[in-house]
């Protein structure tokens, strides 16, 4: 137990938490945007996976930032595809989302094997790029402040995105429209807002954020692509949207909670060799189910009390 405490209280654990949280947070923010506009995006998982592969393949031929943008663009494109099928062709958004997930599950090994000439499992034979860590020279070595140094650039982007999204959603007319479209589409429609256009753009933004998350996963958390490397993170993010009370700051807290448990599941095998690895890997999923149930119960109690 003491070993666990020392490990958890160390600076490296904090770095691990931030690293585990970043892709989750980006995907959660993506899920939040589309959820607020009234379209539940179950495709976060597939979007992250496809964006991760896109980023890895582009990073072989281009600088890291172009690869990140490519991942983000691919996510946005998938969001637009979902919008097309859901809004224009009136397909159920959940089925469309699952089609994207299935496309990702089969399409990524397929595309990887085309790009590498036969490898379906990993991109180990591709020399892929890495997102640089931000070192802040004047805080290095300073206690507490020093913890700010050494994180992925996208961790900073994600943190800023929480603030930016809060600002857009709660301090600009466009954010008001977006929330109104999700709450009561008839009202903004009567006010002359093009409901479908708002939903379309929120799906595109949702995909772009999930795509950034995928790029972070394949170019910082791990360098390179592995089959099914998202491992349910997109679905955990979906839970985090609900757990975060559909608010950007809530999303940050929920993503951090899951990030802590993911980091724990990374450090625990070294400390507790006797616990089977498979059981340690279930921790993030068990925490998600329990948190979802507890939080839903609380919301329902509060609603029935009001």
């Amino acid at each position: 137990m003491t070993e666990l405490l020392t490990a958890v209280l160390s600076a490296t654990f904090l770095v691990a938490v931030i690293r585990a949280t970043t892709p989750l947070l980006l995907a959660t923010l993506g899920g939040l945007v589309s959820d607020l506009s009234g379209a539940l995006n179950v495709a976060l998982e597939g979007m992250m996976l496809i964006a991760a592969l896109t980023a890895v393949i582009v990073s072989v031929h281009a600088p890291w930032w172009i690869a990140v943008l490519a991942g983000m663009g691919m996510g946005a494109l998938l969001g637009a595809l979902m919008g097309l099928f859901h809004l224009r062709l009136r397909a159920d958004i959940i089925l469309v989302g699952f089609a994207v997930n299935i496309l990702a599950a089969g399409g990524t090994p397929f595309a990887l094997s085309l790009a590498t000439g036969g490898d379906k499992g990993t991109s180990i034979n591709l020399v892929s790029g890495k997102i640089p860590a931000v070192h802040i020279p004047w805080v290095d070595g300073v206690p507490v402040l020093g913890l700010l140094s050494g994180h992925s650039l996208l961790s900073w982007v994600a943190a800023f995105a929480v603030f930016g999204l809060w600002y857009i959603l709660y301090r600009t007319p466009r954010g008001l429209w977006l929330r109104a479209v999700g709450e009561a589409p008839a009202a903004p429609q009567a006010a002359g807002v093009r409901v479908d256009a708002v939903r379309m753009w929120s799906l595109v933004a949702s995909g772009a954020l999930a795509g950034l998350g995928g790029a972070q996963l394949a170019m910082f958390n791990y360098v390179g692509f592995t089959r099914d490397m998202t491992a349910g993170r997109g679905f955990i993010a979906l839970g985090a949207v609900l757990l975060g009370a559909r608010h950007p700051v809530g999303a940050l807290l929920a993503a951090l909670l899951f990030g802590v448990f993911e980091a724990l599941s990374i450090v625990m095998p070294g400390l507790f060799g006797w616990i089977p690895g498979e059981l340690i890997q279930t921790i993030p999923f068990v925490v998600t189910v329990l948190a979802l149930i507890l939080f839903s119960a609380r919301t329902r109690r509060r609603e029935s009390a009001a």
């Binding site: 539940l40 179950v42 099928f85 062709l89 009136r90 397909a91 159920d92 959940i94 089925l95 469309v96 699952f98 089609a99 994207v100 299935i102 496309l103 599950a105 089969g106 399409g107 090994p109 397929f110 094997s113 085309l114 379906k120 491992a231 349910g232 679905f235 955990i236 979906l238 839970g239 609900l242 089977p276 498979e278 059981l279 890997q281 279930t282 999923f285 068990v286 998600t288 189910v289 979802l292 149930i293 839903s296 119960a297 919301t299 329902r300």
Partner: protein, 362 residues
Amino acid sequence: MTAASSRTATLLRETGRALAALAVALVVAFLIVLATSDEPAKAFSTFLMAPMSSNRTRGLWIDDVAKLTLTGLAFSLVFQARQFALGVQGQAYVGGLLASLVALSPLGVTPLAIPLGMLAAMAAGAAYGFVPGWAKARFGASEIVSSLMLNYIAIRVVNWIVRAHLAPPGTGQLNSPDFPPQAVFPAIVPGTRFDLGIAVALVATGLAWFALYRTAWGLRLRLVGHNPGFADYAGIPARRIMVSAMTASGAIGGLLGAVFVQGRAFGRIAIDFEGNLAFEGILIAIVARSRPLAVPVVALAYGYLRQGAQLMGLRSDVPTEMLGVVQALIILLVASSVRLPGRRWLGRLGRRRSPAVGAPAE
């Protein structure tokens, strides 16, 4: 319009839709093969012909059809109630585990091994399907998220039990010893995988049809799914129906697990035995419009494509995974209202019928 002619019209329209989906799938598959293969003619003919080439491959195909039918039925049941419970995969794992425990126990050498294993698997699957339903009815927890999380948990826990407790110790194997012959399905065609599984799947189809279309429970379930407002006025306990639909679907998911481990393909339990087949039930259910009687037909056609893609992956330079692309496209096209000419007019006639997943014919 009389009921009979409307039913025929619906049948024709849905058959046309399914055939159009199949045609699109074939065209897309052909284009993918053409774009990626060095020898497209050989690859595509393998895709189309190989499943019929021998008794062995026909057995592989029918084995897939049995499993696809079961997962398609499980998804159809929850889709009819308009619940997006996606837990068939997890149910198959817990079901497979329970069926294996029966087969490896002293009961495994008695004639009761197969029925008891199936019952145990169905009970485990039903319990696993009940949890997200209960969490939704009781707490309002999203069944999509909870059922998916339960899948990940089931896979890891079952894999651990197989690796650490069922595999022969010290061998490093990732599967249990072979089941005794009494616990493995008898082959219908000797020497192939054409076994009892397909019979199990067809019986399950009949039962699911009967439950949905010939019982009060089924009527209530479809009402809750297609017209919740009316169901509410009629005093139907929507939450209880929802939970029971997810539990019944879970039992079928568990049965899928039993068919996996008891079938001639395995005859034992291995880690990751399900190989992501369960999720293909989404496609089957959507193309079959969640109607149980259409599920085996769709499974027969899709199973053929699936087996063709597997054999193409083995015998040519086109990876099996290209089927995922085809699968996603079929779902997108069938779920959306990409209309054939004349569809709009027909749609106006049937305006009162909900265009949602699995809209009832009657």
